[in-house]
Symmetry: C2
Subunit: 338 residues, 2 copies
């Protein structure tokens, strides 16, 4: 069996996460038992939710245990199989974690899914045609549920979730407005991702200034909002929501490092009769087939062409993850492991 | 025609509302034209929503115009009719406003509803079997939608909405916990209204202390919350909500007088995958018949026995309204006009 490289969570962040929270180790890969397969990972996915797992606090998901391999989505190729339904050479997506190889009990429901790379590049199964894409789909279709002609807004607009959100919302006849950090990301959102407009939040020092920019970009107000960041951006959007607006809360990355970030004016929930709903896509596995079919079709037909930022080698994962948390990536953040 | 007494909104509050914001005038009652009826009001309803209408700010409802009769629900008796479907002596509920008499175009949909006082006292049509009761019904049934055995919580527990909420939730097999101000109200909630427990928020100086009391009163956590007040109470409840909890936002009286009251930790919406929904019962007229039928039955069978605080005479309405905003009333606040 090949030697394996792994990244463990070594200690928990005090405030901001740092590369010092992680430790790279080399281990032996155990021999397979019946029903197991050995997967060589081609790509590791880096996602904001991982930051939450690094904390010890009570949350929806179990906290990442210290001294164990960091959780993470992976795509790769089976190199050895002791399971009748998988064979060497199969391309699969799974939750292999921050390591070069994983041994998987392939009978466990949802542990491994075989994928077809004829029309969709392998790495996209970690982004547009994977968990982030389905996340965008669930928030848009099941919570925001927009009518054609409505205006929907997404923060972290050029990330893996935001770019899928834009394609899905355009397909439903919505006006789609993004919020992102910096002129390059905003230009990319409009020129390549199909956003009708994109606002650079870094140009705005408070929620009122950002709300004014939203008013210009959303002349008919905001009917649906997909929340990835929280903080000032959410406060500003709330000032521009229409009556009966819907807000899907997927992430609040702005508050991951420290004290809770308050919401400035919750009375707007009543004034505008808003519906706000938090969700985690892994709790809604029933929608994945329908969502993945639509997302795969959007990619295959060129209507969703997400960009990727790819770090090379497992050792680069911690630094790349710090960059993701600060918005330094452009589109989906991956680590290439082969 | 009889002379009419009316209370007008004379000027808008700067911060807290005061009796000086109102003006009592005596006017002539105009002669009826075809299709109109003259109603003598027996009771005027005082409700927290009126405070919002006194402000000039943009809200869901038109602001109360200066110099006009204050908006308000009324029950009374028709004393003269030029409408074929109503006759003198009919008991009716409507939105007659803060005045002794009103002239009503009875053809206008929803303007007047004839009521039966065989099993339900006339004044209850402004409370348990009226708008406040339907408000409790909508939030509980349509937003919280509890299962038997779940725990639901309501703030302003002994008010008109809270007391109806308790009876409706008990009928659905829920554990019902109230939050109210002072030991007398809390004892009344448990001894007369059927709450399983009631917490005196005045004993708690911050959200953590109140959250601790909620933990004791709700050992299985909180599945549904009906929000009437906002502020610290909402912050404390959020700390105790179970995964997939539902919050119906009906009022945020804590913030009516001034600057918006922030919500301390909105990330809990995501952590616990909560659904939070604001609503106004007048926008859901389709549920009124079903809700009023259930509420009337609860009253007629003695399962809902709300208390009333009755001020005597129209001139006492402003002072009684100030008391309502400060929680001085006990149960439904009315003004008796006959």
């Amino acid at each position: 069996m090949p030697a394996n490289q792994q990244i463990l969570l070594d200690n928990r962040p005090q405030g901001e996460a740092t590369v010092g929270n992680f430790k790279l180790v080399t281990t032996d890969t155990p021999a397979l038992t019946d029903g197991q397969v050995l997967v060589r990972h081609h790509y590791l996915s880096l996602d904001p939710y991982m930051r939450g797992r690094m904390n010890d606090s009570k949350s929806y998901a179990a906290s990442q245990p210290l001294g164990e391999v960091m959780i993470g989505g992976t795509v790769g190729e089976i190199v050895e199989s002791k399971h009748p339904k998988f064979k060497a050479g199969d391309q699969v997506v799974g939750m292999g974690g921050w390591q070069a190889y994983s041994v998987v009990n392939a009978d466990q429901p949802g542990a491994l899914r075989r994928v077809d790379t004829t029309h969709v590049p392998l790495s996209y199964y970690l982004g547009a045609v994977g968990m982030p894409g389905v996340t965008a789909w669930y928030g848009l279709v099941k919570i925001i549920a927009p009518k054609a002609g409505e205006t929907v807004v997404v923060s972290a607009a050029t990330g893996a979730v935001g770019s899928a959100f834009a394609a899905l919302a355009r397909a439903r006849g919505c006006r789609v407005v993004g919020i992102a950090g910096g002129p390059d990301k905003c230009a990319y959102a409009v020129n390549e991702l199909g956003f009708d407009a994109c606002i650079d939040y870094k140009l705005h020092k408070d929620m009122y200034s950002l709300a004014k920019a939203l008013k210009e970009a959303c002349p008919n107000g905001i009917d649906g909002y997909f929340e990835n960041v929280g903080g000032m951006v959410l406060d500003a959007v709330l000032l521009r929501m229409n009556a009966f607006g819907r807000i899907a809360v997927c992430g609040m990355i702005a508050g991951y490092d420290g004290a809770p970030l308050p919401l400035a004016n919750p009375a707007l929930i009543l004034v505008n009769r808003l519906k706000i709903e938090g969700f985690i896509v892994s709790e809604h596995m029933e929608v994945w087939p329908e969502a993945l079919t639509e997302l795969g079709t959007l990619v295959a037909t060129g209507k969703l062409r997400p960009r990727e930022t790819v770090a090379q080698g497992l050792a680069s994962a911690p630094e790349a993850f710090m960059g993701l948390l600060k918005g330094k990536n452009f589109g989906k953040q991956l680590v290439r492991l082969v």
